[in-house]
Amino acid sequence: MKKYTPAILFLIMMISFGYQLKAHVEEYALAWISFSNFFKKMMGLFL
């Protein structure tokens, strides 16, 4: 069992992380739009 512990832990973490990513994808996508818009605007201003 001890031999497989790292792999099991890794697998659990990946599943859990994936679940969190899926659960919040909308919030992060909206934030990304604001973030990239800001940079586009600033690039337009200063470049």
Partner: protein
């Protein structure tokens, strides 16, 4: 500049002093410096404030002398140069670990977000809900009254809370006499948090590389990033819980008196920050006190005395003044009345237990409060650190030597922290505001993640994947700031204004916020703009519904104004009045009841800014100064160009000497022409519902109205004006 100088001097003095104390690790010593500097700031402000000597020059002088004393004392023990060289050597030994690729990635991201925070603190006003309601007004009153005072608890019971953490915000506000940098204080608390997480990680035998990695990840926790730019004190409070925990566990482990006393200082400060610290400290002491009692018999009295000295002031004050040390009664807090946030009413403990499992599920799957200062532990915590912690905690039962037990105490704090969140007696709709109370669990989870990373060190692919995903999670937390409403971090408008050569009041950027901030922005910006160049500004009265009774903006960006309602014995009537009903019609009056009607119909004052739910009046005398008129005209031109345009068209159709009575936003336009001396008609601009009263008071027989004919008069249309896409008819009414 003086702020930077005195704070750096204090930092160097405490660093030097800490160098003379017995520490096993540099990281622990640097954390100790953070605790001692905070303690020095808080204690000197408290003492000067209690005795009514809270003046900036005196505060600077006292702290300079104290720091000088520390330097003189330390110089007898050790050379500062030697200490510094030793420390640089230690850091250089860790060079490889610090410059590991994953740490460099996080540091680059950290640099980017640090610049963002400094820009936000410089350009944007304080803008968190509780910041405006009580965290900041309290310390601004301390600054203006030069003593620690209790603000009217009939307005907010929060004014009687412990305020040790807010005294840290007082530091830049007092020295600069400005609100500008109060939102950067918690940045340094986040850095202290990184330091304590690193120290803990090393205590848990993590290698420097992993310890540094998880410590940096703490900085990128969404709620940490969101609270840095606010004056919500949960970040400071939780970091101080971690420092207390660290030093008390170190004192148990090492039998080193230094740790014991630093633990006492940290715990004392913590207790003076929030009532919520009491159960956490009691639980912690329950585990460690028997050990401390065995190891430090005689010194334990000092341990307790330091805690009491640093943490008890607010409780004693409340006991003497309000008859209740934990006002508004601790039992009420447990029962829910102080635990809930709005008018939903208390929730019983039984009912709360019923929703226990729903709350656990929601906490994990929704990461409640994400994207605001109220919550959001982030996907690195819930996705990686929390599962890692479960594994580490279960394994911690295997070793129950004294050291093993102390480690178990550390890991188990996660349970107490999460219990505070899910057992807090608040209804489900307010659950999203709670997780901030226990953000220290993130630190524990991240250290567990570090332990798991070490477990995976021989599985490079696993290790790298996890590290890459953690960096990805950190980057997402930063991106999340772009869309944050609580508080807002968007700098677009501020940067555009600077590009256009404008230097508006920072309160203009309330308009980029949400909830009450946009409607409040008009009076907030104008009041500040008119007074910010004055050494002594205006004394402003506020009457508002309870929820929107926020006063931070009234003080002005340079703390030049007074809130008349909070003055103990005001020598004269207010110079300005702000009335607002933004959430309900139930107006709260503090100090004296002065109604909107009294001021709206008082010819000594005039309305200069209004929205459908708020009105801002200033005494006429104020505009005897031509410079003030120039500022007002500039404000109207920049803020209400459309209303000026409408007024310009309307005034072309007016017969001279016939007054105009109106109750809408075109009033800004008419005021513009009136102050410019470019209007031959008298204008009566009043809040909605006061048109009839002013006509009656002035006994008007003939007058113009905007949008409707006045009943009881013969009226005829003189002009069709366009306002917000609608045709508005101008009537001439006469008897």
């Amino acid at each position: 500049m003086e702020l930077l100088l005195i704070t750096s001097f204090m930092g160097i003095a405490q660093y030097y002093f800490a160098g003379t104390l017995k520490f096993e690790h540099l990281s622990g010593r640097l954390v100790c410096v953070g605790v001692l500097v905070s303690a020095q700031i808080i204690v000197t402000e408290l003492i000067l404030g209690i005795f009514g000597f809270l003046y900036a020059p005196l505060l600077i002088l006292v702290n300079s002398l104290l720091s000088l004393g520390l330097i003189v004392y330390s110089a007898k023990q050790k050379s500062l140069r030697d200490l510094f060289i030793e420390d640089i050597k230690i850091i250089q030994e860790r060079k490889k670990a610090i410059w590991a690729w994953e740490n460099v990635a996080l540091m680059v991201l950290g640099l980017f977000v640090t610049v963002w925070f400094f820009f936000a603190a410089y350009f944007l006003p304080p803008r968190g809900v509780d910041d405006l309601g009580y965290h900041l007004p309290v310390i601004y009153e301390y600054i203006l009254q030069h003593k620690i005072v209790l603000l009217p608890i009939e307005l907010r019971f929060h004014f009687a809370f412990p305020f040790n953490a807010e005294l840290l915000f007082l530091w830049p506000a007092m020295i600069l006499h400005s609100q500008q940098w109060v939102d950067i204080v918690q940045f340094f608390m986040a850095v202290l948090g990184v330091g304590v997480v690193y120290s803990f990680a090393r205590m848990m035998d993590l290698k420097s590389r992993e310890a540094f990695f998880v410590a940096l990840l703490f900085f990128f926790t969404p709620i940490v990033l969101n609270q840095i730019g606010s004056n919500y004190i949960d970040l400071t409070y939780n970091v101080f819980f971690l420092t207390s925990l660290y030093f008390v566990l170190r004192s148990c482990l090492t039998k080193n008196l230094t740790y014991l006393y630093i633990a006492a200082i940290s715990t004392g400060l913590l207790l003076g920050m929030k009532y919520g610290a009491i159960p956490l400290v009691i639980i912690l002491q329950f585990f460690v006190f028997p050990m401390l009692a065995r190891q430090y018999r005689k010194q334990l009295v000092w341990y307790v005395m330091i805690i009491v000295a640093l943490g008890s002031f607010w409780y004693v004050r409340n006991w003497i003044v309000l008859g209740d040390p934990l006002y508004p009664t601790f039992l009420d807090t447990l029962g829910g009345s102080a635990g809930n946030f709005s008018a939903h009413g208390p929730i019983s403990i039984g009912k709360n237990m019923h929703s226990f499992f729903t709350k656990v599920k929601v906490l994990y799957s929704h990461d409640v409060g994400l994207g605001s200062f109220a919550g959001g532990f982030g996907m690195v915590f819930w996705g990686m650190a929390f599962p890692g912690w479960v594994y580490i905690w279960v394994n911690s039962f295997k070793n129950f030597t004294q050291e093993g037990f102390l480690r178990w105490i550390f890991w188990t704090q996660m349970i107490f922290g999460l219990a505070v969140v899910v057992l807090a007696p608040v209804p489900m709709e307010e659950f999203k505001y709670i997780s901030r109370y226990s953000l220290f669990v993130v630190a524990i989870g991240l250290i567990a993640l570090g332990k798991v990373l070490e477990l995976l060190q021989f599985h490079k692919i696993f290790l790298k994947t996890i590290k890459i995903l953690c960096i990805y999670g950190a980057a997402l937390s930063v991106i999340l700031l772009s869309d944050s409403a609580w508080p807002v971090y968007r700098l677009n408008t501020a940067i555009l204004d600077r590009r256009d050569g404008e230097n508006p009041s920072e309160f203009r950027y309330y308009r980029d916020g949400v909830w009450f901030l946009p409607p409040m922005s008009y009076s907030a910006e104008l009041l500040d703009l008119l007074t910010r160049g004055d050494a002594k500004g205006l004394s402003c009265y506020m009457a508002s519904d309870y929820a929107a009774f926020w006063t931070t903006h009234i003080y002005g960006s340079k703390l030049q104004n007074r809130v008349w309602n909070f003055e103990k014995n005001p020598s004269r009537d207010p110079d300005a009045y702000i009335y607002q009903t933004l959430e309900s019609d139930q107006v709260v009056y503090i100090g004296r009841k002065i109604t909107l009607g009294e001021i709206a119909l008082n010819p000594a004052y005039q309305l200069i800014a209004a929205t459908p739910y708020s009105s801002f009046f200033i005494r006429n005398e104020f505009f005897e100064n031509k410079d003030k008129i120039a500022l007002l005209l500039k404000y109207y031109e920049e803020t209400f160009p459309f209303n000026i345009e409408v007024a310009a068209k309307v005034k072309e159709h007016l017969e001279p000497d016939i007054p105009f009575v109106l109750d809408n936003s075109v009033g800004h336009g008419f005021q513009y022409f009136k102050f410019k001396g470019d209007l031959q008609n008298k204008v009566y601009w009043v809040p909605p519902d006061y048109v009839g009263s002013v006509i009656e008071r002035e006994k008007l027989r003939v007058f113009y109205t905007f949008g409707y004919s006045f009943p009881g008069f013969s009226s005829h249309k003189i002009y069709d004006a366009m306002l917000d896409g609608q045709v508005i008819v101008i009537y001439k009414n006469q008897k």
